[in-house]
Symmetry: C2
Subunit: 210 residues, 2 copies
DNA sequence: CAAATTCTTGATCGGTCGATCAAAGCGCGG
DNA sequence: CCGCGCTTTGATCGACCGATCAAGAATTTG
């Protein structure tokens, strides 16, 4: 027994370390070239191991992809889950926007992978979209309808409101090249601040009731 | 001479027809699987011809891709070009949003291809982004700054305003699968109307001065 | 230390894809 | 009808890629 690390058994130390490296390399490569556009050689090279060794840990290319994607969904939905019906509506929405914007800044590879999957018709996570995702969105849309009836939120379509938050925040990760080309080589910190300020203003005044 | 059609000479009738079919098929395939993920066989099959025949009109796979992409940029930038400094700011912006939303509805393949190119780092159009695109955006940002000084537009960052328009409108084409999964199988017409109404409201109140 | 197990990799196989070529088909002017 | 140029395609080549295997290296275990 080697429970010295304190983590529950899930393969040897080497196994865990190598799986970790493979998943990280897979995220890097898949997020840039998509599933078909990526090769096992690329991923193995990025992970610093040989191709057969990678296939020793994941029998198929698709298994790496699914594992990378599987780690993603909770990260993706958690910020929306945090939206509380008891909070001040505009505060909750601004906070949600800010959290999503932070994720775009800190996890651009995850965002691009997600976008890539959507663009190709989401063949591998279509079930999750119609299930877990839709359930959560329906729930939060219901919360927003409550706010609208309270008169604490402008009467807008909750679904399209959520879509707009997804779109405006993910844009900074997915279209990073375009954003950089337009804004020039300014500091990333400044870009983030300006984007946050603009979105805060847009949603504050755009969604204020009355 | 066969100027009977009235179009200027640009290959025979057969050449023009086949190039057209190839470009349309290329758009269909490339927009769904990206450059590396698409095969000439797929494109040729979709165009209803053999692979060598396709390569008779375009010597390389990359030539098809570049031709498809080249037809795209003007379509992409025209709506922004139409924004007039003399107009009423909020009208101009609302009109821009609506035009972009129409394009997302009517040309989803073009939108997805563009998104795919961005996700992969835009290796083939990076020059256009830093050139033609940036020039136009700088020009319109300047127009918006004028509106802000006039007091006819809220003091927001013009660049991030434009980004948000791109993001919110393209989202309906690029993330179509997700939108459908969340909204269920409602009519496309209704979706479009609701999205237009939400965005009109968001930008009207979010950008109104004072 | 020795045996057993886990880990790593060079070599290789079958399949796919981009690209080429030669030959056959087709339309058009004489 | 003939001959010429434009168009189409079956066959094929080389490169790349996913996957397998057997053998060797490293690590763990007794």
């Amino acid at each position: 027994m080697n429970e010295t690390t304190g983590r529950r058994a899930c393969g040897t130390r080497i196994q865990r370390a190598n799986r970790e490296r493979i998943l990280d390399a897979g995220l890097e490569i898949f997020s840039r070239y998509g599933f078909k556009g990526s090769t096992i050689d690329q991923i193995a090279a990025k992970a610093g191991m040989s191709k057969p060794n990678l296939l020793y840990y994941f029998r198929r290319k698709g298994e790496v992809y699914d594992a990378v994607l599987g780690d993603l969904l909770s990260l993706w939905l958690d910020p929306l889950r945090e939206m509380r019906a008891e909070g001040e509506p505009l505060d909750e929405i601004r906070r949600y926007v800010f959290r999503k914007l932070e994720i775009s800044r800190d996890r651009p590879r995850e965002s691009r992978l997600f976008a890539n999957e959507m663009l190709t018709g989401a063949p591998r996570i279509h079930g999750l979209l119609a299930g877990e995702l839709k359930t959560l969105v329906d729930e939060k849309a219901s919360v927003m309808r409550g706010w609208i009836e309270n008169g604490t939120l402008a009467p807008v379509d909750p679904y399209h409101l959520i879509f707009s938050v997804w779109a405006t925040t993910q844009h900074y990760a997915d279209f990073d090249v375009q954003v950089r080309a337009v804004l020039g080589g300014g500091k990333e910190e400044e870009r983030f601040h300006d984007a946050a300020a603009f979105l805060a203003r847009l949603y504050t005044y755009g969604l204020a009731p009355g």
